[in-house]
């Protein structure tokens, strides 16, 4: 076995130490005495965090639904595979292959343990988008001869909706379930929508824009009783809310690594073995990953992912308490402002995702005013277009409110000082923009905006 000393100091540092130094918005004085990092290195040996000076002062990061910063402990694990353990995990003829294979299987066990699955049920992929494609297209195409119907919801991630659209072109029928104003699906409607030829129900666990948690256990029960496969996109939920695939009767689950402080470019699909779910693989080849996803695994990514999953279990209680406290603070402060509203259910939600509408202000101009805070007005995939969020549309929010929503993501490395700064900045700038807004003035004069005939363009 190789022994690596690179970044060995990182291992024993607590999360709170990382939190303190990783706040990029607030510049920290680095200790100068003692060991010096090598010239040009962005890793500081003294504090075991990335040296912020290397990247300059950057905005406060509150876009945790887009991606999360890599945990240094994960990077530490990954470095082993970039330096010495370079064997192909599928090489079964020599020790290089065996050692990486062993590490990959350890990672697989760690990933499985979070959701109470068997390690053999975990298929590594390139990310949650591939997982969703694989699950939807795979199941639909395998059972397509007799079962031609799929059920999903209107608030799913783009990659699920787009896969469904693609399957419609192939001749499948898709039912897009509506959601109520809280963002939750109606279970009775789901049960009614299930037909004899339904092969798959796909409902996301935690919504990426509004953080709403769907009732997975009830959905799983309904699906099992009708003998329909249940797929859930758990990219935003994995490790963050307790999910047990056996308790919830989940047959397929999409997982992403970079949403749990792991590396980008790797994810996993949970594919149940008993009762067996069969898939038509999208990627064919050497038959790796039970033949469902051929191609050589990337041990650095897979093992980083495994380490991140292990840390999600280890840090679960601390993370939950930390995120909940900061989220409550942020939410209370923002909602105490006039004419603001929380989007999505207040009860069934993951606290790390707070989506708030600031009425009478346009979202993009608010983001421009908050350039010292990295935020998003919705999912990163749709922020390039001028369309308001389809998720908020599905909740029944009117266009004006959908245009003025901002999503705040809180994670393991967000600090209280950052949240305080964000609250203060938002209070000031919302006031500034409202003074600029003709709608705000009209509302204060008591004019009903709906009574005006707008000349749309």
């Amino acid at each position: 076995m190789y022994k690596f000393r690179i970044g060995a100091g990182v291992r024993r540092f607590s999360v709170s130490a990382l939190r303190r130094t990783s706040s990029s918005g607030v510049k920290q004085a680095m200790p100068t005495s003692g060991a010096q990092p090598p010239q040009g290195s962005s890793i500081s040996l003294k504090s075991a965090t990335r040296d912020p000076s290397e990247y300059g002062t950057r905005p406060i990061y509150l876009d945790m639904q887009a991606t999360t910063p890599t945990d240094p402990r994960v990077l530490d694990k990954m470095l082993e595979f970039y330096t010495g353990l370079y064997g192909n995990p599928h090489s079964s003829t020599h020790a290089y292959g065996w050692e990486t294979d062993k590490a990959v299987e350890e990672a697989r066990a760690n990933v499985a343990a979070v959701i109470g699955a068997d390690p053999k049920e975990i298929i590594f992929t390139s990310g949650a988008t591939e997982c969703n494609n694989m699950a939807l297209k795979g199941v639909a195409r395998f059972y397509g001869k007799s079962k031609k119907h799929i059920i999903t919801t209107q608030t799913e991630h783009k990659c699920v909706l787009d896969s469904c659209r693609h399957l419609q072109d192939e001749g499948f029928e898709v039912t897009y379930l509506p959601v109520n104003s809280d963002g939750l699906i109606d279970l009775e409607l789901l049960e009614k929508a299930i037909r004899k030829d339904t092969c798959l129900v796909s409902v996301m666990a935690v919504n990426n824009e509004i953080g709403v948690i769907q009732p997975l256990e009830d959905i799983g029960r309904i699906c099992r009783s009708h003998k329909v496969f249940f797929h859930t996109d758990a990219a935003q939920a994995y490790g963050k809310i307790p999910i047990d695939v056996n308790k919830c009767n989940i047959d397929l689950m999409s997982i992403s690594s970079h949403k749990i402080y792991g590396p980008m470019g790797v994810g996993a699909t949970f594919v149940r073995r008993r009762p067996r779910v069969r898939l038509d693989p999208i990627i064919n080849g050497g038959g790796q990953e039970r033949g469902l996803r051929s191609g050589t695994l990337a041990p650095p990514l897979v093992c980083g992912f495994g380490e991140a999953a292990r840390l999600m279990v280890q840090e679960y209680d601390a993370d939950q308490a930390h995120i909940r406290a900061l989220s409550t603070k942020l939410m209370d402060a923002l909602l105490s402002m006039d004419h603001t509203q929380l989007n999505g259910s207040r009860i069934h939600r993951y606290p790390g995702c707070v989506n708030v509408s600031f009425a009478y202000i346009e979202g993009e101009s608010l983001l421009m005013a908050l350039k010292d805070i990295a935020l998003s007005s919705g999912s990163a995939c749709t922020s390039a277009s001028l369309e308001p969020s389809y998720v908020l549309h599905a909740l029944g929010a009117d266009d004006a409110l959908a245009h003025s929503s901002i999503r705040f993501g809180i994670g393991r490395f967000t600090t209280e000082a950052e949240v305080d700064y964000v609250i203060q900045a938002l209070t000031e700038r919302v006031k500034f923009l409202r003074e600029l807004s003709p709608l705000w003035e009209m509302v204060n004069e008591g004019i009903d905006l709906n009574s005006i005939e707008w000349a749309g363009h």
């Binding site: 346009e362 421009m368 000349a455 749309g456």
Partner: protein, 156 residues
């Protein structure tokens, strides 16, 4: 020679690419107008020498209100105020439009084209509608003023 041309083309296309990728960033002039908007405010819309233009719709994400105060004798726009709900480019477009219009006669103001605003602020194609909205706002304010004057004339 051919190779050099090719090379040059390559360089040029790379420059073009750089422009595309920087499109998401705002031009410094937009940021300046956005951070220090000129002529923000409200005038009494019931005054006979004040014309008000309200264009856009909340559902589209842009509403502009532009008000002009006109000297009845000379027809010169003496004061302009605006308020805008919309993205940074919309706010900058209307702020710049107020600067532009101030001191103009009604005829001159009516001739302002959206291209002038878009060029000054270097708006990308996706934001051109902001400048069109600003043009509409000016026209609509002038129309409102003229309508008011028209109503008043017979009584004089």
């Amino acid at each position: 020679m051919f190779a050099r041309n090719l090379l040059r083309q390559g360089v040029r296309s790379r420059v073009a690419l750089a422009n595309v990728s920087s499109r998401r960033l705002y031009h410094p002039k937009v940021i300046d107008h956005y951070q220090n908007p000129r002529n923000v405010g409200t005038m009494d819309k019931n005054l006979t020498n004040v014309g008000t233009g309200l264009v856009g719709a909340p559902a589209c994400g842009d509403v502009m209100r532009l008000q002009i105060k006109v000297n009845d004798e000379t027809g010169v726009i003496e004061d302009v105020k605006f308020k805008t709900f919309g993205c940074g480019s919309a706010i900058a477009s209307s702020s710049f439009a107020t600067e532009l219009v101030k001191g103009m006669t009604l005829e001159e103001a009516a001739n302002i084209k959206n291209t002038m605003i878009a060029k000054e602020l270097s708006l990308p194609p996706v934001k051109l509608h902001c400048s069109m909205l600003a043009e509409d706002a000016i026209k609509s304010a002038i129309k409102d003023y003229k309508a008011k004057r028209g109503n008043r004339k017979p009584t004089m």
